[in-house]
Symmetry: D2
Subunit: 335 residues, 4 copies
């Protein structure tokens, strides 16, 4: 049994804690949160210890590994402390909002051989993963184009948007990782377009965009298109299409149930989409824990590494620069 402690007892941390608790080869070693009542609630429901500080987690001999689900600004410090303590890490995305800070961290932990896994959960979605397999096993022939549609069901609160780091670092970052996952080849050029159509006033104030399109290109000419919106009234729109010389694979949306309705004016109407990311990716979050436990136990490389987290952030930086300067940005410009 791999004994994993969870740092952060917000809704994501709590969900991870439950998944660890029910995992057949893992045990929940305890939980910690700066806001103590949250930690108390989780520790009581799941019957596990509550840690008084992050330091005590890293120091504990009853903890084999850590899952970091605290606020973004703390990730880098906790990663460095966990590395120092020799604990394998599963860290929520993004590593940090600052590419510079991530680069510094990367240098500091460069020598570690500890498993450090990034929580790009969408890679573990059964449908998206099946698309990746269809690419990897040659079913689609040579890959030519990727189209990722990713629209949120609704705007986050203004306060969140204001400190989110902007749509590219906060939301598109998932799609940058998905594009890299699918392309199997590094992106060399980023061209981004941004518009303020959902909440123009807020976007203006934050110098941010709510409706964006990004085109990524690789050295061999493969193209990936990302289509984002901060608000889709029909729900959490999550699709991935891969097109190649041998065919096409599409990972489709998921609905609340499988009923189709026929009426006087329409046919085969489906239910609304699974709307909340924790529901939509519920099985993916469980599969992510499973992959982490596997990697630590078997000593095989983690499915998504620190460098994957860094490169997704680098693409976000390139997109920001592309919109600001109205031109295609080569990733080599950002180092």
């Amino acid at each position: 049994m791999l004994r994993i402690a969870v740092l952060g007892c917000g809704r994501i941390g709590r969900m991870h804690a439950e998944n660890i608790a029910r995992h057949p080869r893992a045990a929940l070693a305890g939980v910690y949160d700066t806001y103590n009542p949250a930690a108390v609630e989780v520790s009581e429901k799941l019957g596990v210890p509550r840690f008084e500080s992050a330091e005590t987690v890293f120091a504990s001999t009853a903890v084999d590994a850590v899952l970091i689900a605290t606020s973004t600004a703390t990730h880098v410090d906790y990663i460095e402390q966990a590395v120092a303590a020799g604990k394998p890490i599963l860290c929520e995305k993004p590593i940090d909002l600052s590419l510079d800070r991530v680069n510094v961290c990367a240098a500091r932990i460069a020598d570690t051989r500890l498993p450090i896994m990034l929580g790009f959960v969408r890679r573990f979605d059964a449908g998206h993963a099946a698309v990746r397999r269809a690419i990897a096993d040659g079913t689609l022939g040579e890959l030519h184009q990727i189209v990722i549609t990713s629209r949120d069901p609704g705007m986050a609160p203004d306060a969140y948007i204001e400190v989110s780091g902007g749509i590219f670092r906060d939301m598109t970052i998932h799609d940058f990782d998905m594009a890299r996952f699918m392309l199997g080849e590094e992106v060399t050029e980023v061209t981004a377009t941004g518009a303020r159509l959902v909440d123009p006033a807020l976007m203006e104030r934050c110098n941010d965009y709510d409706t964006v399109t990004v085109v990524l290109k690789t050295a061999s000419g493969k193209q990936a298109v990302i289509v984002n919106s901060r608000r889709a009234v029909y729900g959490y729109d999550q699709r991935v299409e891969a097109f190649g010389s041998g065919g096409m694979a599409i990972s489709e949306n998921r609905r609340m149930n499988n009923m189709q309705l026929y009426g006087a004016d329409f046919t085969a109407q489906g239910a609304v989409l699974q709307n909340f990311f924790i529901d939509r990716y519920a099985e993916a979050f469980a599969a992510e824990i499973d992959a982490f436990v596997d990697a630590v136990e078997t000593g095989t490389p983690v499915a998504v590494g620190f460098e994957d987290g860094r490169l997704a952030l680098l693409l976000a930086e390139a997109a920001i620069r592309s919109v600001a300067e109205g031109r295609s940005v080569r990733t080599s410009e950002l180092g």
Copy 2:
């Protein structure tokens, strides 16, 4: 060029006339209707001769074959006359409402080698035909079950229903033929259930049913289920499912267009079904003409013969008896 004359210029006859006119290896030899204005209209639009009587059609040396789309009661006489005149026949379903009369006709034309084809158009639908191919070519393994869903978009006028011969002879007859087409083996037992749910008063008056379920069984144990309703508000519901030891094939409904709509309360809502049988089976009607021309030109057997028309009617008789007597009826009871 096969020169085909059309008897009957109602909406079905007219549609057949247009399909013949545009067929690359057929020519429309002329049209006839007891109601002269209908024949005049078609002959003028399509620029073809109008015949003064059915007799002149059969006698004409400019006519190689005939398509009979007149009222049901005239079919048997016209078939016999066309056989006497040596003209190949494509006749609309049903042959007649009386099984006895059909049996007499069958005896009279028993010696002919002329192509006599019955217009069970659904066999020529691309989707239904693909299901049949999946059975015939072994894709589905050994066939076990057929489910035919066939619901009309709305009640025909009372006057029509009253002389229709009842739902089994008028509507289910298509499904009896479809079941035979799919089963590839004769039906030995018929069990039918009827209810009056759409228009109870009319059904009571006509001693008819508007909502029926029929189970057919073959000697080897294969089962076919037919589900009928006289009125589906969502349109003309036409589906066929074949299930076997190797898989399943379903011929799905067809919609007015391929748009899917997503709104705040629903996803992927489709357009209404193609509602009118002439639209729904437009390509099938054209393919039917093509199959007739082929059979006549090449001397190969017609796809749907007189005996197919007779056996579909026999199953209708068995279903009527099954409902009336509340028991399964063996087809051998009807000869």
Copy 3:
């Protein structure tokens, strides 16, 4: 917290135990199995007590309610004991294979006001439940027809089939309950057809059928069709269609993932169906526990009662008689 003990630690009992353990308003009070190692394994993984006998479960003051997931033959005894002990019951289907024995039990427990819920889990499937809601809230208008397609992914072992009580009591019983759930009105007539197409030798030996079609009728003329097979190579086929004067609702199958594949010879090919009933109905099993906890806590009637279990078995008996005697059987003949 409702403290529920689980009797029976086979795969179903174990799954129920896990669902109870993670339910926010329930606690797993302990487990019991005649085969002790099974109980030991579950009690250790979930950290709950293991009971030495069923009697100690019923006697325990630390147990508020029981879930019976033992072998079918024990259900009736355990139900009677639990009633005597005043413990609310959630019992797996079927109550028993003998309608007589169930009738005797019904008489014995007639006076209890304890919640006794039957585990017809399919009622809790989100898709099937949405169909039921579309009927209940009037979306479909007046209900006319139900079509239930229910095919197992493969034959159970011979040894299981031999003691299963036959396809109608073992497998179709779920569909009988589903039909009753959808119809909202009692079935008055049953007409069943059986064939031996999947494994004729085994079926012959057991005097059983592997391919069946059942037509149910209510007093008002509503029709329900059940289409069953013991083996569908494409997986666990679970569909429900409801048709009424106002429209149609279909609960569709569920696949392993949402990828659609396009190749040179095909389009939009979906993944295989969720194949194992515990996976297919995973969320339904959790919802079933939730409904039970709700009913016990709030004192509201259980969603599926003992009488529902008895009536489903009665329809199975009617179907068996219908096949044996080749006629429609009225449910009133069976009391």
Copy 4:
């Protein structure tokens, strides 16, 4: 009856001739082709006159309107001659490969009030048109994003590609028009990406691309993405997605038939796509003729005008420049 003559008897001209012949309010006034045998064949099959030259068509008093389906290089001349002759025009796309030449033509015919309609047939597809209606009638709220996927089933012959004017003028031009049709607002900025992945050697030789992505932007910030490939093994991929504040509408692909196949390893596999553009858009081509006849008869504006043809070509020019210079190109740069 509107008497329409067809110039050009290739496969497109012939198809138009047949559609005119069967149109209830139009008549085929005759056909012309520089390659006389093609004209002879069509005139004989359809029983209409054959013209000896384009000049005789324009001069004929038996011709009310002309349909121009000759080679692209002749379009501008024929348009100018038809205008001089006072004949309404339906002209196949593109007007010409040279924007300069089109601008000169535009100036020359600036004063005419004759109906001049461009054959952007996809606007008349029932699915695409339904998407447009969902935008126009407010169903989708304020429009934000359009995604057009348009992939050919296979490379045209090298000889064709070499003189096609390049992918943007030859193939994407349909999508530029579709984007304009959907956006309801002019495009102000074009960013295009091109790759050589299908046939790199040919593309290198022609300085062309076979795999392109274009992002269009309007003044109000609306975005349209076009995804093109010259070869999709699964067929002629033709989809349009419109996303707005009120919902989403997708016009889906069309298949050869409506069968879905289930096997041991897959579910609901569809038939191949309708592969040939004349089949895929068969009904749209007929609807296009209908719209032209309507416009001429009623004096209402044509659905797609000369200026639409010019603006689509202008977007193609902008895309070519964008790829060449690696930057976004404002349409105002091209006049």
